[in-house]
């Protein structure tokens, strides 16, 4: 089947799919008139019942914590698959690496920026139940702090900080910790992943109950997963060797 025939078949299929989709969305409730009761119920109950100020994080880690566990295990599986696929392509010879970054100013600013990003990431994760934030966003920012070290320093410094031998246990701890917390709630007589610690005061850092611990474990899992993915992609053959980029 030549390209032209394939494109012609696809175009007719595309018109059909477009008509179907447009007909489907035209029967939705008009934009701005959300009809369903579940969102209203959650928004009304999240503060008096759970003492959490951020309704979205409360839904992610408390009301729908089971779905988030599934998403995190998807992340875990994807990061493990990336490590599995790209692991044997690694070139272990680092003896002929030259220092690609020669500017001390860049290294200094990079180190400072990495530290600031690290603290910012912890702040984003910790304030998940008070302001917009939480484990997922903060986890990505945490992995970015390590990627900054790679971008502004040499590969050896990055390898010392965030090699896969360090990222894998962190990620496993995060993903496994999530499931362990659910089972712990079950063992204590509550439902799986039910919030079993005292809720605290709304708007304080200590609010959230056991969902706050779930928040931290998912931050660990996300940051470990991303650090693992980055360490597979940003490798020594992307660094400078004898003045040439690549192998």
């Amino acid at each position: 089947m030549t390209t032209r025939v394939r494109l012609a078949v696809f175009s007719s299929g595309l018109v059909l799919v477009a008509a179907l989709l447009v007909d489907g969305v035209s029967n939705l409730p008009p934009f701005g008139r959300y009809a369903g009761p579940y969102g209203d119920i959650v928004a009304r109950l999240v503060e008096p019942q759970r003492h959490m100020a951020n309704a979205v994080t409360a839904v992610v880690f408390d009301y729908r914590g089971f779905d988030t566990m599934g998403e995190e295990l998807i992340l875990f599986a994807a990061a493990s698959a990336v490590a599995l696929l790209l692991r044997e392509m690694r070139d272990h010879d680092t003896s002929d690496l030259v220092e690609g970054i020669r500017s001390d100013a860049l290294r200094g600013v990079g180190a400072l920026a990495a530290i600031v990003t690290f603290v910012l990431a912890l702040q984003v994760v910790a304030h998940g139940f008070i302001t917009p934030g939480g484990g997922f966003q903060g986890g990505v920012v945490l992995s970015a702090a390590f990627a900054l070290v790679f971008l502004t320093n040499e590969y050896r410094a990055y390898n010392r900080l965030a090699s896969s031998s360090f990222a894998e246990p962190v990620e496993a701890l995060g993903a496994g910790g999530y499931v362990f917390l659910g089972l712990l709630a079950l063992a204590l007589g509550f439902g799986f992943l039910e919030n079993f610690l005292p809720f605290g005061v709304t708007g304080r850092l200590r609010s959230g109950g056991s969902a706050a611990i779930v928040n931290w474990s998912s931050a660990l899992a996300v940051s470990g997963g991303f650090a693992l993915i980055f360490s597979e992609y940003l490798q020594e053959n992307v660094a400078v060797r004898h003045g040439r980029v690549g192998k």
Partner: protein, 114 residues
């Protein structure tokens, strides 16, 4: 006018689909898959939107205030982060194909061998 965000989601999905079918580079194809995924985020958020509603964070507003739906926002936010990991997996597959065939062009890659 009232279904404009839904039509936007349909448009983005179809644009991504055209990009996938007519792509000549596997990395370009992976980015087009991400475009299709972003269409679903817009659809979800548009369904949960309420006119004159505000963000569902009650840090400084009373609970009686009208807010948009927090449930679809939670689905979207975990989805965005996980989609990156899945794209990284697709790119790893593209790298393995490049290693085996020497080309990233879907048309040049040999058909399924026996």
């Amino acid at each position: 006018m009232t279904i404009l965000p839904y039509l936007l989601a349909v448009w983005i999905f179809l644009v991504g689909l055209v990009g996938i079918v007519t792509s000549r580079n596997l990395i370009h194809l992976t980015v087009c898959v991400s475009i299709c995924q972003s269409a679903t985020y817009i659809l979800l958020l548009a369904i949960g939107y309420k006119s004159h509603g505000t963000a569902p964070v009650f840090a400084d507003i009373p609970t009686s205030r009208k807010v948009v739906d927090p449930v679809v926002q939670s689905l979207t936010l975990t989805d965005i982060v996980v989609a990156v990991a899945v794209s990284a997996l697709l790119l790893a597959l593209a790298l393995k194909v490049f290693e085996a065939e020497g080309s990233l062009d879907p048309a040049e890659i040999a058909e399924l061998k026996g």
